[in-house]
């Protein structure tokens, strides 16, 4: 038994080292190569999507509740974050169509006034992210009361409907003084505000890609701890067999509600991070297509694998934002136009790749394994060959 324990530690240790290495490399690259490289867009968006995909995996992969409300909870998180942190000085110009905002409370102003520029920014952003999560979780709690009685497809339809209704409500003119109607919210702190500048405003040290990685990393670490706790085991038990779980004394309603709220909390935080990434928030971006994107990432990565979801979201974002970009540009070789390469062809190729994954790698990249398992497997095999 002690042997197994040792192996678990080693596998996790290697994983931890890899994660740290990624963090360090990101910081180094950011400060050495061209900061406008698409690589950094991929890192930032990938980090945000990792968190949202993991939060969806917690619900779909670990608790067995098929919910499609993720974009709705991201929307709640993004708006909460933006509304709480837009500085009062620019608020009225952003809400000019509605003659100013009815909301004159900015966490950023409060904390930057009290704690100074840098420290105030950090505290305000973290607090606003937590608020974003809490708002999302609160709505999840309300919607969960009636909806979580439903099963599989019905639950998916109900949550999808909820997300769509939410999107419509946020674009409603009557709420314009709070949500700015169909117009974008902007002016709140984004990832680039975390770059360290000198007194004349020149950037001396870039952190704008490291910060999203760090924030998403912390949230994912919390989810991993949760999954390995006794609550996590109860979630998996519910996924595996509801009747048996209930017979063992697991309160189904309570645990489903808990999982739904926690998942939505992190989707809300993910929404806040998405707002920071995109630097504007508009309800029309949080469509059901976004939920499907995240679902796709979860499926490609492996339902029930946290590291799979992370890996898949970086791959997915890299493909859609970077590697397959050339397919959209018309290209000439020796005066003749290369056939098929035109705007929109990227999505065709992308769809084919996804079909191949679904047909031949049904378990996704990782199946239900995690990154440390891969190192553990190797160790066990090595041990066997030694004998």
């Amino acid at each position: 038994m002690s042997n197994t324990k040792k192996r678990i530690d080693r596998g996790s240790l290697i994983t931890l080292c890899i994660i740290l290495l990624i963090f360090v490399v990101t910081v180094v690259l950011e400060n050495t190569i061209n900061a406008n490289s698409l690589l950094f867009t991929v890192i930032r968006k990938g980090a945000v999507y990792s968190l949202v995909a993991v939060s969806m995996n917690l619900l779909n992969g670990f608790t067995g509740l098929f919910s499609l409300g993720q974009a709705g909870f991201m929307l709640l998180g993004a708006y909460t974050y933006a509304i709480l942190t837009i500085p009062n000085s620019v608020r009225d110009t952003i809400y000019y169509l509605f003659q100013g905002s009815s909301f004159h409370f900015s966490l950023l102003d409060i904390f930057q006034g009290a704690l100074g520029e840098t420290f105030g920014l950090i505290v305000a952003v973290i607090l606003a992210c937590i608020c974003a999560g809490i708002v999302a979780a609160f709505f999840a709690f309300l919607i969960g009361l009636p909806v979580l009685r439903l099963k599989s497809d019905y639950l998916a339809i109900a949550t999808l409907g909820f997300a769509e209704i939410l999107r419509a409500i946020f674009q409603w003119e009557k709420l314009g003084k709070v949500t700015n109607g169909a117009n974008a919210l902007r002016g709140y702190p984004t990832f680039s505000d975390f770059n360290i500048k000198n007194s004349s405003g020149m950037i001396v040290f870039r952190l704008s890609s490291f910060v999203p990685l760090l924030l998403a990393g912390i949230c994912i670490a919390i989810i991993v701890l949760l999954i390995n706790s006794s609550y996590g085991r109860a979630f998996k038990a519910i996924r595996d067999d509801e009747v048996a779980a209930e017979a063992m004394g697991i309160n189904l309603a309570k645990h489903k509600q808990l999982s739904f709220c926690i998942s939505s909390f992190f989707a809300g935080v993910g929404g806040a991070l998405f707002a920071m990434f995109a630097s504007t928030v508009q309800a029309k971006t949080f469509t059901s297509a976004m939920t499907y994107e995240i679902l796709l990432i979860v499926v490609i990565g492996g339902i029930g694998s946290i590291s799979g979801s992370c890996l898949a979201s970086f791959l997915y974002i890299a493909c859609s934002e970077w590697w397959l970009r050339f397919l959209d540009n018309t290209m000439y070789i020796g005066g003749t136009q290369v056939p098929l390469l035109r705007n929109g062809f990227r999505m065709v190729v992308f769809s084919v790749i996804i079909m191949i994954v679904v047909l031949f790698f049904r378990q996704g990249i990782m199946g239900s394994r995690e990154l440390p398992d891969l190192f553990r497997r190797k160790r066990i095999k090595e041990g066997k060959s030694d004998e």
Partner: protein, 239 residues
Amino acid sequence: MSDTVLEIKDLYVSYGGIEAVKGISIDVHEGKIVTLIGSNGAGKSTTLKSVAGLVKPKSGSIKYKGQELIGLSPDKIVSAGVVLVPEGRRVFPNLTVKENLRMGAYLRKDDLTADYEYVYELFPRLKEREWQLAGTLSGGEQQMLAVGRALMSKPELIMMDEPSLGLAPLVVQDIFKIIKTINKAGITVLLIEQNAFMALETADWAYVLETGEITHSREGLDLLEDNTIQEAYLGKSKA
């Protein structure tokens, strides 16, 4: 005689207008093995599920040590010391054997070391497969795990729904041996079986259920001799 721990009185259960259980009354005495036999659809499983709180009865009462169980949630009933081993094994296939056992003790906050040892002593095979996913176990091993998992909640009354279902004859004998061992350790057993012969041999007291009603209730071995029972459940023709 010993005290009645479980007292079911005039229990009626219906599923969407169809009555599955029509006013049955059952007494389970402390430290005994009581069996409910009957054919498919007789209402055996429904009765057990009602006791475990998984099904809401229409009327009647289920008293465990004087405490009314109807209306309590399943987790409260498990905490009270009544646990159900559901039909068809139903282990958690993607959890390891040990995690499955741990789920059985989900509501307990105390130390589990002694309980793991007790279960592993009863089922040495589970000890060997401690780190294996439960879904990869054989049918017999899964049934053992299901029983072990239920024992982890430290029950005083264990209810088993068709523990022999789909198992090889030798494995069935093992399961019944285990049932006797558990019972000797002081746990009351309420057993449902289609394998009437094995059940009647093992049980101290037996009830026969037919289309939601109790038709016979007698000591197990007595019932085994009964001609009508033999015809109906043991497949012996009229001599």
